[in-house]
Amino acid sequence: MLNQGRIDLLERMPPLKRVLKARAFQPAMMLLTLAVFTLAILAGLAGTPAGNRNFGIVFVWIVWWALLIAVLVPFFGRLWCTVCPIPAPGEWLQRRAIVQRRPGRLWTRGLRWPRRLKNIWLQNLGFLGVALFSTIILTRPNVSAWVLLSFLLAGVVLSALYRNRVFCRYVCPVGGFIGLYSMLAPVELRVADPDVCAAHKTKDCLTGNEFGYGCPWMTYPGSLQRNAACGLCFECLKTCPKNNIVLNLRAPGGDLLVADERRLDEAYKAFIMLGCALLYSAVLLGPWGWLKAWANMHTLPHWGLYALGFVVLNLAILPGTFGAAVWLARRIARQPQPLRRLIVDYAYALIPLGLAAWIAFTFGFVLVNGSYALAALSDPFGWGWDLFGTASTPWTPLGESVLPFLQVGVLTAGLLFALHTTYKIARQNSAQHRAAFLATLPISGFAVLITLGFLRLYLG
């Protein structure tokens, strides 16, 4: 029943299973991305300060970002976490090995991660912090390089203090939203039969064995219902002696309906992501020069106002307005559940809309600025090189005529997905169709207003 309507890719594609089970697969990918990551940091520190000609800016914040938000996350969930270089040095230090399964304890102080931080609040705050300075981070290569370097160092330090990938699970600002949006992905790692896991005494997926390490994400595959906390490292695939791990192709978004795992920190992540997409669109694509100047820290008092507005919008105005919509929904549908719980429940309906908004926003600047990648590829440091003969490629905005259609299409799809999810969540809280339908109306109104706001920003 658990995997009904799903296709196990590992069963259908044995070569894929062989690749994912190979110990060298993940380190090889990580070494590759680590090389690019190191190059991005070096370009930021030693290359041209002009962001649009610097590999560190162009390949991280245009190429990687577009790949992540428009391809990897919506179609493959946490696949980026499989190859992400940031935790690699720390993890390899912990294991004192890169490829092989080295026996013995992990090389770490083994401190206990505080219970009250076992959530994504730190990731929420981290993302807000990065977002607040994003106009600086995204345009100034040296600032960007220091931020990337600090992520790398944080990964190493936390690995030295705590077991496993504490950084990825509880700290990484990027990992937080990848986890949230991975719940929409049409792929999932699960177990074929939870009863097999329940009956299995040694729980090799948690403790590790000669074929692999215990889950670095501290997740028990036997109880996995959602993608959010699975980093797709495939250690469990290597260690499971029961051959019970499956990689399913499924209908997208099923995780949003797992009612018993909904949490306030994730609900807030949905608000923050939606709010940031709205603000980014207003600052970077909107017609308000003064707002851009404020965000760019032209003067500290103005930036202070911008920062205050940014935080208040994300943490109070957006959740507050949404809370009012849920209050209305609860009242007209006469739902007996506590308001706070309903706010958390319905916030999951904003996840598809949030991802669609980010994809639409990303189309907006990637199609316009993507041509910089060719020049940066040939001259990554802006030193006048021409490695592949593309250094002089002029800035060529692409897809101007199709961009509005893409953005409208993606936002509409996101809105419809959100409305559909709202109704399904409402049905979880109301046995009757009529009550669920009534509850859907105010929340749908909220989602429609937000979508209209995005359309206003994108279409003018």
């Binding site: 680590l34 090389a35 041209t48 300060p49 002009a50 000609r53 802006g382 800035w395």
Partner: protein
């Protein structure tokens, strides 16, 4: 397994140690060592964000340097003066343009933005101090300007207010605009032009209003329009084609933002200046101006008006070309150009 581990460890070493060493080694050691001359990277930002960085460079006489200008924010333009003839043209955001220079004598040169990039655009300047290797700490003294010195000796107040004198106030409300083109025909038709007015040196140190008095005394029967057109022709004729082109280029790059492309005092930056920029297309104003005072004002700047100095940017010849271009904004260009 062991072999793969070693290979991975080697790859990790190359990435975390080899790559940084290679990049930083190239940037700070190999690149300077391979270059036949010193390379100086100069980042250009709007003046509100610090302008040029660095904004001061020291070079030794005889040293060849390559200056690489990179625009960090908006489109800038870079020229270097005075007298070097370096104009790199517009530099778009992220674009890098370079010029290699060798200085033969001590002096101070200025690199400056030639595109109106922000309200404080005119502040966007940097200096190149070329010093004698034998006396590297001696700052080359600025050359005296005989035109400005003569004005000071004459007691002329370069910063005098712009109000026209009562005597010639009516000129500012002329019903017609004096035309150099028509003036040429008027003179060819027999208007008696006093010898002083035909002397370019005299015209340089006198106003059109003073010339009008002389012309009126000599031609009392001529119409006011004929006399004014003749004056317009005399003041606008001093422009050879090449100088006119130079003056126009310098004006468009450096003056038009405030004074307007047609000299109407209505450039996009006009609202930001301490005083309203003067309108060179206004004959009422220009009839009261002397060329040498205009020259001095351009080179030295206008005290308290927001008018920057350009003496560190232009040669005297370029400044005269600019002054002559200003007269064409007032009176238009004659059909044929004459000198003398």
């Amino acid at each position: 397994m062991k072999q793969r581990e070693l290979l991975a460890l080697f790859a990790l070493g190359v990435i975390l140690l080899g790559l940084p060493l290679a990049v930083l080694g190239y940037q700070y050691w190999l690149r300077p060592a391979l270059s036949p001359n010193r390379i100086i990277d100069i980042a250009a930002r709007v003046p509100e964000q610090a302008g040029f960085a660095p904004d001061a460079i020291r070079v030794a006489v005889g040293e060849t340097v390559t200056l690489r200008f990179a625009s960090m924010d908006v489109t800038h333009g870079v020229a270097i003066g005075p007298g070097l003839g370096v104009d790199l043209g517009p530099i778009d955001p992220g674009q890098v343009k370079e010029v290699t220079l060798r200085f033969d004598r001590p002096g101070i040169y200025t690199y400056y933005c030639t595109t109106w990039c922000s309200p404080d655009h005119w502040r966007m300047r940097g200096t190149i101090q070329v010093s004698d290797p034998a006396n590297p700490d001696v700052v080359p003294a600025a050359q005296p300007d005989p035109v400005i010195d003569a004005l000071i000796a004459e007691g002329i107040d370069i910063d005098a207010a712009h109000t026209p004198s009562a005597e010639h106030a009516e000129i500012s409300i002329l019903a017609f605009h004096p035309s150099a083109q028509r003036g040429e025909a008027v003179i060819a038709g027999g208007l008696d032009v006093p010898a002083e007015l035909r002397d370019p040196v005299w015209r340089q140190s006198h106003t059109p209003a003073e010339a009008l008095e002389l012309l009126t005394g000599q031609n009392p029967a001529a119409s006011e329009r004929d006399r004014l057109d003749a004056i317009a022709y005399l003041w606008a004729q001093d422009t050879a084609d090449e100088a006119l082109a130079t003056g126009k280029r310098l004006y468009n790059q450096n003056c038009a933002a405030c004074h307007g492309q047609s000299g109407g005092g209505d450039g996009p930056a006009a609202a930001t200046t301490a005083e309203e920029p003067v309108a060179f297309s206004d004959p009422g104003y220009m009839f009261e101006r002397r060329s040498d005072v205009l020259y001095a004002k351009i080179r030295r700047g206008g005290m308290g008006t927001g008018m920057p100095n350009f003496g560190t940017l232009f040669t005297p010849e370029e400044t005269w070309a600019l002054v002559r271009y200003l007269w064409t904004l007032t009176f238009g260009t004659p059909p044929r150009t004459h000198t003398g």
